[in-house]
């Protein structure tokens, strides 16, 4: 009986986290399309509901009632598994995101490594989908995305090391609290820029959306998917984008802390601050999609391996020597 009550409590907590995440994914799709439209002097979705807010729900309804087609030459088990893997991985990562000092589902010691591990597993959904479709375009898209995500992960890992050198802990709450006096975006600004661009590449967002480049690959790894399975890919992708924004907010923008620690600002709950920071980063993501043309594949690889990796490695050496020389290394 005791076990059952604990299990129910945890399930309640998980639902309380996941339902808002899923709803906000739907809203964020609307925001993305809206920002994109405004940059191009269009209106964007504005018909369903107030300001078109319910557009994503209408889309979801449409996806649910469409037929799921499984190609006869596909590898059926892996074909069905791929969107499930994408979706699951995008959602389980939210377990460690701290919304305040106490509002966190799992306050684990190696939180940032967990986030990094889960985001690096995200490539499997894409490879499985692309390979199991047994078709040229999805396969090309899957191979592109495998190479792309693996190479940009390296620089994200090195950037995380930069932040960890300043914090001295892998716990996400410790990382947030270490930014009490100064957000890491100020001393580590070049790293923030590189993190942002690598996050774009890691989530296959434009200008790095080569895995699904519609001009050359139809829709990349999603070509053979339809109905709810396509919607799951799509939900997983946007949940991943939100997750990368949350990661950026926690690593560089002070996570759940208010920007100024004075009276009217401290009234606002911590979770709201985190959500505002995530939204800010997401609007930047949407703006980049609207204003930057797509990269060529060799340029993308060159940027990852020849520019970002050396730059972030040099910055690790600089940060470490600065902290060592001025005796600022965090020791606990």
């Amino acid at each position: 009986m005791e076990y059952l009550s604990i299990v129910f409590q945890e399930v309640y907590k998980i639902l309380f986290l996941l339902v808002p995440v899923l709803v906000s994914v739907a809203m964020i799709v609307w925001l993305d399309r809206r920002v994109w439209a405004f940059v191009q002097k269009r209106q964007g979705p504005n018909v369903v509901g107030p300001f078109g807010l319910l557009q994503s729900l209408a889309d979801a309804l449409k996806y649910i009632f469409k037929e799921i087609i499984i190609p006869s030459s596909s590898n059926k088990v892996i074909f069905i598994l791929a969107p499930i893997v994408t979706m699951t991985l995008a959602l389980i990562a939210w377990a460690v995101i701290p919304f305040s000092a106490t509002q966190v589902l799992a306050d684990i010691n190696v939180g940032i490594l967990y986030l990094f591990a889960v985001s690096s597993l995200g490539v499997y959904g894409i490879i499985m989908g692309g390979w199991a479709s047994n078709s040229k375009y999805p396969f090309l898209g899957a191979i592109r995305s495998a190479a792309q995500m693996v190479s940009y992960e390296v620089s994200i890992g090195v950037i995380i090391i930069n932040v960890l050198l300043c914090v001295g802990s892998l716990n996400l709450n410790d990382i947030v609290i270490a930014q009490q006096n100064m957000w890491f975006v100020i001393p580590l600004f070049p790293m923030f820029v590189i993190f942002f661009i690598s996050a774009l590449a890691e989530t296959n967002r434009p200008p790095f959306d080569l895995p699904e480049a519609e001009a050359e690959l139809v829709a990349g790894y999603q070509t053979e998917y339809s109905g709810m399975m396509y919607a799951m890919f799509w939900l997983g992708e946007y949940a991943n984008i939100l997750l990368m924004c949350a990661m950026g907010a926690i690593l560089f923008l002070g996570g759940w802390m208010s920007p100024i620690d004075v009276y009217p600002f401290t009234l606002i709950p911590n979770a709201i601050w985190l959500i505002l920071k995530i939204l800010l980063l997401f609007i930047l993501f949407a703006l980049v999609k609207a204003i930057v043309p797509r990269y060529r594949y060799d340029q993308l690889m060159k940027l990852g391996w020849k520019v970002f990796l050396p730059l972030s490695l040099i910055w690790v050496v600089l940060t470490a020597s600065y902290l060592f020389y001025f005796n600022l290394l965090p020791v606990n």
Binding site: N109, S120, L121, M128, W131, L170
Partner: protein
Amino acid sequence: MIAHAIFFYTFSLIAIVSAIMVTASKNTVHSVFFLILDFISISCLFIMIGAEFLGMIMLIVYVGAVAVLFLFVVMMLNVAQQKNQWFAGQQSSRHIPVGLIISMLIFFEIIIVIGGWKYKPEIFDINNSINQTSISNTHSLGQILYTDYIHVFQISGMILLVAMVGAIVLTFRQRSGVKRQSYIKQISRERAQGVEVLEVQSNKGVKIDD
């Protein structure tokens, strides 16, 4: 504790079954997916015994990078079409003695290590420093790895570097006639180099040398 045992047996069962399926499955790509499942369940086991750092590093390095490249190579080489023959076939039966010898060796090594750990725990003085519960797993690992074992650590890094250089040297080939883009050349181009104004006489045309 019952929940702990249930999770332990679940993960170890998944690990063993998927390890068998790596060799038994007909499709090579399926083998790689089973290998990934094996890695994931092993890292779950690591996390369960309190080695959360090792478990996460296992996930990041093996599952997130090495297995992706495995999958990449297996898919690219198109070995998926070749059927993986197990038991049957003259070809594979020749390799069984070699495999048996290697697995016996690994088995005895594990027996020796576990036996030493079990009956002479004082030899492994690392245990004492790890068992301090006040500092986290990551801290204690760092304190040992970068102080007592710094040379071993550096040597392993050098070995990896040499392996990488070797792989690049083996696969590198100079191809002639490949046009490469140079950003500096493109940006530093002046108007005089790119544009030429010519006086064209009617009915004569211009000859452009290229």
